[in-house]
């Protein structure tokens, strides 16, 4: 089946894993394309690295360090992974979301209570060394009885740069999303604060409080409506709380309260379609990873996608063609869905066997729609291409 993307024709059924980039300092928790030739990834330590994708990639050879990689977990990539070129320095805790504007600005939301802006065209301020497989080596060295030999260190040196802008929040900023036109940024934090900013200047335009911790947030293409899901994840306690609400941004009042419909569900991810007529919601946690399509004008459910992710959904992203949705979750697979009929048309990756084996944390389509990057907690960024 062929589909027309923003700039290129895309055949979702014909997908190829081009690269699996190793970076296991800690879990890779966020990813975003920046234009078609760059992508950035963030991890649980608050580090952000930037990769530049080569015009002529080098076929994957038989080097021991590359050979032993995710081939056994998913599929073997075609090409040898280039090393990162730059590090964004400044965050001190988990990177929860990475967003991109104007193919130049990277925006990061973190557990360190901040949102930071990074200009990838800015001059570097220094250099830093990384060993991209440091955790694997450390684990093997600590467990000497495992009989495994540590791999060759994947050493690299990257340019560093500081943030150009920092927005201070009050708690872990888990939810962050850009409007379709990239003019508006919305964030939600664990203090229950939802804030709307002018994306360019970082000036705050609106702020309101919700009862629980703000989890997933999204803003409609016309900038008038926002989705905020809430949680207060106590277990077996009367104080636990979940909510899903559609808000009028101008007045910060609730337009539609969907909490009954999504009772006890922690909605971890939300995204508006490009035309604003569909809102996709993904249920997080370790329950069934359900995906719902909602009519944002009424708050009514249009359909529930099937099959479900085995465990919770972690990220949703509409394709630039506006007709397809990508989802990923705690089952280490990516699914591509046709929005019109709700059918799954492609699954990438494989569940890793047994109960609870790793997560894919986040995904991002390239602006031309031909590639998708996926953040893998096992210490990789996978990049597939559709042709």
């Amino acid at each position: 089946m062929k589909n027309t993307a923003a700039s290129k024709s895309v055949n979702f059924e014909k997908a190829t894993l081009l690269w699996s980039f190793t970076w296991d300092a800690d879990w890779v928790s966020a990813v975003s394309f920046i234009g078609d030739k760059h992508f950035a990834a963030g991890n649980n330590l608050g580090e952000i690295l930037l990769w530049e994708l080569p015009e002529k990639p080098e076929p994957l050879g038989e080097s021991p360090s590359e050979k032993s990689k995710p081939a056994d977990k998913s599929e073997r990539p075609l090409y040898l992974s280039p090393k990162p070129v730059r590090q964004m320095v400044g965050h001190s805790n988990i990177i929860n979301r990475l967003l991109c504007a104007e193919n130049r600005w990277l925006i990061s939301a973190s557990n360190d209570h901040t949102v930071k802006y990074w200009d990838i065209e800015a001059k570097p301020s220094g250099m830093a060394k990384h060993v991209l497989n440091a955790r694997t080596i450390e684990d093997i060295n600590r467990n000497k009885n495992s009989g495994r030999k540590p791999p060759t260190p994947l050493e690299t040196e990257v340019q560093t740069q500081a943030a150009t802008k920092t927005i201070e929040g009050r708690e872990w900023i888990i939810g962050a999303s850009l409007s379709q036109d990239e003019t508006t940024l919305i964030t939600g934090d664990d203090a229950g604060q939802v804030a709307v900013y002018d994306r360019k200047t970082g000036a705050e335009k609106k702020r309101w409080q919700v009862k629980g911790w703000a989890f997933a947030v999204a803003i409609s293409p016309d900038l008038k409506q926002s989705l905020v899901s809430e949680r207060y994840p106590l277990v077996f306690d009367s104080g636990r709380h979940t909510a899903v609400k559609l808000w009028d941004v101008a007045t910060s009042t609730v337009q539609h309260d969907l909490s009954k419909e999504f009772k006890d569900m922690q909605i971890a991810s939300a995204a508006y379609s490009r035309d604003g007529k569909i809102l996709a919601l993904g249920r997080g946690g370790e329950g069934e990873g359900k995906i719902f399509l909602i009519d944002p004008s009424t708050g009514k459910k249009i359909r529930e996608l099937s099959p479900i992710h085995q465990y919770g959904v972690t990220d949703l992203c509409f394709h630039p063609d506006g007709k397809h949705l990508a989802s990923t979750g705690r089952d280490t697979v990516v699914r591509i869905w046709n929005i019109e009929d709700g059918k799954m048309i492609k699954e990438l990756g494989k569940p890793r066997g047994g109960q609870f084996k790793d997560w894919f944390h986040a995904l991002s389509f390239s602006p031309d729609g031909t590639r998708i990057a996926v953040a893998d907690m096992a210490g990789y960024i996978h990049l597939w291409e559709f042709r």
Binding site: T242, K263, G287
Partner: protein, 428 residues
């Protein structure tokens, strides 16, 4: 539909049931038999000695097992650290989790044991072991801490039960001490089981009870066995409890204390525990659900700590304000700690090789951090403390000899296992 908020915890069947909580605490058709009433059956001089000290104990039970690395034994910069940050306490050089800011201000009251090395890794055995200091696999049913304290610190003439528990707590019961020391279970807001409310007008109820007394007195003339007497005494005590029932009602006082303890079930339970100990109940256990975070450990602990921090610190402040702290031992513990390693569910699993328990108040030296774990928190580095050592410390702080001997038939059994030693550094 599954409840996402309970994902990642062990199966409910692996935990003790609420039925077990209430089992034996309230029974009979009239609903008024309260087994652990006072200390009617106390006979040992040790009991009277301990009672003279006027000590009380409140156990804050962290059901499922709280993470030491995410609370009192943080490992910043290590692979095991997790996303929580440290904050300075009043104790120079000692830091705790950023989500315990109020407890950080009370640290001069705390005796923090960072070197618990225990031997029961799962919930049923861990809950039993950390309530009795004996392994569950032993054939002898040991009494849990509350039953032991009820026996030695309970008053014979009390109108109140001597062992009260609220929420998710232990399940070992009174063991070989017998049903009279079984816990009296209530809800954390003080609500009692529905059957404690009389369904007859007071005058009718009184006449009915008088009739029952008369019949039992007549019956006793021909039947003097202990079982009949025990049953009769239990009824008498139950009727006395109903007269004191208003003490459990926190409806009027709670709004004034809510800010101090935090607006939560657990906070309200801590307030009620303070009320009950002040009124003479020697042992109150209150549980907080649920720390068993095999998945999503950090959001689970963060939410729990936001409840725990004001409740626990509020309790310590309130005990001090009302002059009770020096006689009331507050114990903070669960059945296990949690692994330093973060698993691929963003969780931490059960861990017994180096975890943390905190004592405060009666008989305990505050501002003391005892023992340590290694750099990553994977094992105890100094001063390992066993279950028996912990209980020996608790009993000593409360004025009960940890080597107290009981006889079951002809078999001698001690309050703590052979070799258990109180931690002198923590005792006043």
């Amino acid at each position: 539909m599954n409840n996402p908020s309970i994902s990642g915890v062990c199966k409910k069947s692996e935990h003790f049931s609420r039925r077990a909580l209430l089992k034996g605490s309230l029974a009979t058709g009239a609903g008024t038999a309260i087994p652990n009433w006072g200390g009617l059956f106390h006979s040992q001089s040790i009991a009277s000695m301990a009672q003279k000290l006027g000590k009380r104990c409140i156990l804050l039970w962290m059901n499922g097992g709280a993470s030491q690395i995410d609370t009192f034994d943080m490992k910043p910069g290590k692979a095991t650290a997790g996303p929580f940050r440290e904050i300075q306490t009043k104790l120079p050089g000692y830091k705790v989790c950023e989500y315990l800011p109020k407890i950080a201000q009370q640290v001069e009251k705390l005796g923090i044991i960072r070197s618990m090395r225990t031997t029961s890794p799962d919930h049923p055995d861990g809950i039993y072991h950390m309530h009795t200091c004996y392994k569950q696999s032993e054939r002898m049913p040991h009494p849990e801490l509350g039953a032991m304290i009820a026996k030695y610190l309970g008053q014979t003439d009390a109108d109140l039960p001597s062992f009260v528990r609220m929420g998710p707590t232990g399940n070992a019961g009174s063991g070989y001490l017998g049903p009279r020391y079984e816990p009296f279970g209530i809800e954390r807001n003080g609500n009692m089981p529905y059957f404690t409310s009389p369904y007859l007008p007071a005058a009718n109820e009184s006449r009915r009870n008088d009739l029952l007394r008369f019949m039992e007195t007549e019956h006793k003339k021909e039947n003097s066995a202990d079982a009949y007497e025990s049953h009769r005494v239990a009824k008498e005590r139950a009727w006395r409890l109903l007269k004191a029932k208003s003490l459990f009602d926190t409806t009027k006082e709670w709004p004034k204390h809510q800010e101090l303890y935090g607006a939560s079930d657990f906070g309200r339970g801590c307030f009620l525990a303070r009320k009950l100990t002040e009124a003479g109940v020697p042992f109150v256990e209150i549980g907080q659900e649920n720390y068993d975070s095999h998945a999503d450990n950090f959001v689970c602990h963060k939410a729990n700590m936001q409840i725990l921090d004001p409740a626990w610190s509020g309790l310590l402040i309130d005990l001090e304000r009302t002059g009770q702290l020096q006689n009331t031992l507050v114990v903070w513990m669960g059945e296990v700690g949690r692994t330093p390693q973060i698993n691929n569910r963003a969780g931490r699993d059960h861990f017994i090789r180096g975890w943390t328990i905190v004592l405060a108040g009666g008989g305990i030296k505050g501002g003391v951090v005892y023992g340590s774990t290694d750099a990553d928190g994977r094992d105890v580095a100094t001063n390992p403390v066993s279950e028996g050592d912990l209980f020996a410390t608790i009993y000593t702080a409360l004025g009960v000899n940890p080597r107290t001997k009981h006889f079951v038939g002809t078999r001698p059994i001690w309050a703590t296992p052979e070799g258990s030693k109180p931690i002198k550094d923590l005792l006043l």
